[in-house]
């Protein structure tokens, strides 16, 4: 509840964020103020990826780390092996609680201002990401190579990224960063953590939520296909049959 109120106040403050930055520090009650250009990403028929702008202000000196984390899910990594000249899927490892999306941005390379121990403790950065094998599996001996492969594949799809320098300070206190989502982005609740780091310590964290969802026709089709799959199949056939019949009629007339 209190958090809600603080959030609302944050929004009002941000309306005049430039003014605030110029005003006397005595009024700036919070050390870190953050806002998003939009709290919803909508996947529509014309979706080709999306970009959001995150902006904020800090009070005093410091460095900023922005982490965007997608919804958690299971992810399977497979390794190909050559059998009789053909590449066949052999070993696999199922990871659980893997964020569908993970982007780390900072105003300068993190190792310059954030001690590795602090980053590890707070699971900040791709190398500190908590990626656990599913409990059902026996201990996987090649865990490290599979873990690296998971991150590498996600990076190739544009779903995981490391962007030192993508947080841009406009003045000493105002900053902004661009968050890019590719077409392959997953739907769900995203958390955006903004860390303020000063003297190698995390001073404060601000968490904002972001919702990625399918809307309109796309959402309807997807939901229908998963919730009423039998009816969906029947409808798909019906549409095809009618289209085929129409084509036949048109063909006959011409």
């Amino acid at each position: 509840m209190i958090r809600e109120i603080v959030k609302v106040r944050t929004r009002h403050l941000l309306a005049g964020v430039v003014l605030l930055a110029a005003a006397t520090p005595a009024y700036a009650v919070e050390e870190l103020v953050v806002d998003l250009s939009s709290t919803v990403v909508e996947i529509t028929a014309g979706f080709v990826g999306s970009e959001l702008l995150l902006f904020g202000a800090i009070d005093g000196e410091g460095d900023v780390v922005v982490i965007v984390r997608g919804p958690l899910r299971d992810e399977i990594v497979r390794r190909k092996e050559r059998i009789a000249g053909i590449w066949v899927n052999r070993d696999e490892l199922l990871f659980t609680g893997v964020p569908a999306f993970y982007a780390v941005a900072s105003n300068r390379p993190m190792e310059e201002f954030l001690p590795e121990a602090v980053a590890a403790k707070n699971w900040i950065g791709l190398e500190n990401l908590l990626l656990l094998p599913h409990w059902k599996q026996p201990y996987a001996e090649n865990y490290d190579s599979f873990r690296a492969a998971l991150i590498r594949n996600k990076q190739r799809q544009g779903l995981y990224s490391r962007q030192p320098g993508n947080v841009i300070f406009l003045s000493g206190r105002l900053f902004r960063t661009k968050i890019s989502f590719p077409t392959a982005v997953s739907v769900g609740e995203y958390g955006i953590d903004v860390y303020l780091v000063r003297d190698g310590k995390i001073v404060t964290v601000d968490t904002t939520l972001l919702n990625v969802r399918k809307v309109g026709f796309e959402a309807g089709v997807f939901g229908f296909a998963h919730r009423h799959s039998l009816a969906y199949g029947v409808l798909a056939i019906f549409i095809a049959a009618v289209a085929g019949w129409l084509a036949s009629v048109m063909f006959r007339e011409s």
């Binding site: 399977i76 190579s145 998971l150 084509a247």
Partner: protein, 304 residues
């Protein structure tokens, strides 16, 4: 113009898909082939997940078979009794095929199986087509005397039935068996199976050529409809948006192809189709054999 496919969960260019539907539709109109065996690999090439490509193509084939069968129906070139007998095997085979598909998908081997099936069948068809057209082009026409009714061991099977339209008296097990095999392929490869069904009907069953295509199309409608429903229920891989774009292009292409068929040199075109089939097959084989840039990759987690 990009459009986001809700089931494939990716963005594609509408005109590319329309063009593919049109191109394959043109060939179908020209040669009277279904086109599924070209369309599914093409969809895989542009990055559609193989499972989605197969299921969606089954849905599209329902449309093209309906429009194809109506013309044959008007000329009474459909042997309904034979069609229904084939269908008994077809429904069983395609249901078994989708079951197999779902299991292979869970094991992470479905993409490989789909591609291998294509490599095997496309290489056989492509080579047959090419050699046939080369032979004709070189005018080495060998006279092959073909008896209408061979007598193999298969004709001694029980459960004999009379098929009046086809003027046949054969064991029902034979069409049921053929229907079953083609049904399995239909489910796994996303094809109608006409390219196997038609030769099997002529050479194995000894059906008159005039009813073969109509009867084949008749049973393909129901087999692919069965595949569509089962894929939708078990795997949720039927993308209606993709199917709609494909069949729009397909309808236009098929019309143009049918009109062009009278005006074009048949044999050269058959050779061209053969080349295309061999080309698609070569590309699939290359992808299976060449060392991938990354040996590790992410699979789809199939929810139980």
């Amino acid at each position: 113009m990009q459009i986001y496919l809700p089931i494939a969960e990716m963005s594609v260019n509408v005109f590319l898909i329309l063009g593919m539907g049109g191109g394959v539709g043109f060939l179908s109109g020209l040669f009277g082939v279904g086109g599924g065996f070209l369309m599914t690999p093409l969809l895989i090439f542009i990055g559609i997940p193989p499972a989605v490509a197969v299921a969606t193509e089954a849905n599209q084939i329902v449309a093209s078979s309906v429009s194809g069968v109506l013309a044959h129906w008007r000329r009474a070139n459909v042997d309904v009794k034979m069609g229904l007998t084939l269908l008994v095997g077809g429904i069983a085979g395609s249901s078994f095929g989708v079951w197999l598909f779902t299991i292979l998908r869970g094991l992470g081997q479905i993409d490989l199986v789909i591609k291998l099936c294509y490599v095997v069948f496309l290489s056989v068809i492509g080579v047959l087509m090419l050699s046939e057209s080369i032979r004709t082009l070189m005018r080495i026409k060998r006279q092959i005397r073909r008896k209408r009714h061979h007598h193999y061991w298969i004709h001694g099977l029980p459960l004999k039935m009379r098929f009046r339209r086809s003027r046949l008296y054969i064991s029902a097990l034979l069409p049921i068996g053929i229907g079953f095999l083609v049904g399995v392929l239909s489910a796994i490869m996303g094809v109608g199976g006409g390219f196997i069904m038609v030769p099997a009907m002529i050479y194995l069953l000894g059906m008159p050529t005039v009813v073969v295509v109509g009867t084949s199309l008749f049973q393909i409608i129901f087999v692919t409809a069965n595949v569509t429903i089962l894929q939708a229920v078990n795997n949720q891989t039927v993308d209606v948006v993709l199917a709609l774009i494909l069949l729009t292009g397909g309808v236009i292409g098929a019309q143009m192809g049918a009109r062009a068929s009278g005006r074009l040199q048949g044999e050269q075109l058959r050779g061209l189709l053969g080349l295309m089939v061999v080309g698609v097959c070569a590309k699939l084989t290359y992808d299976l054999v060449v060392t991938p840039p990354d040996l590790f990759f992410l699979g789809r987690v199939v929810a139980n």
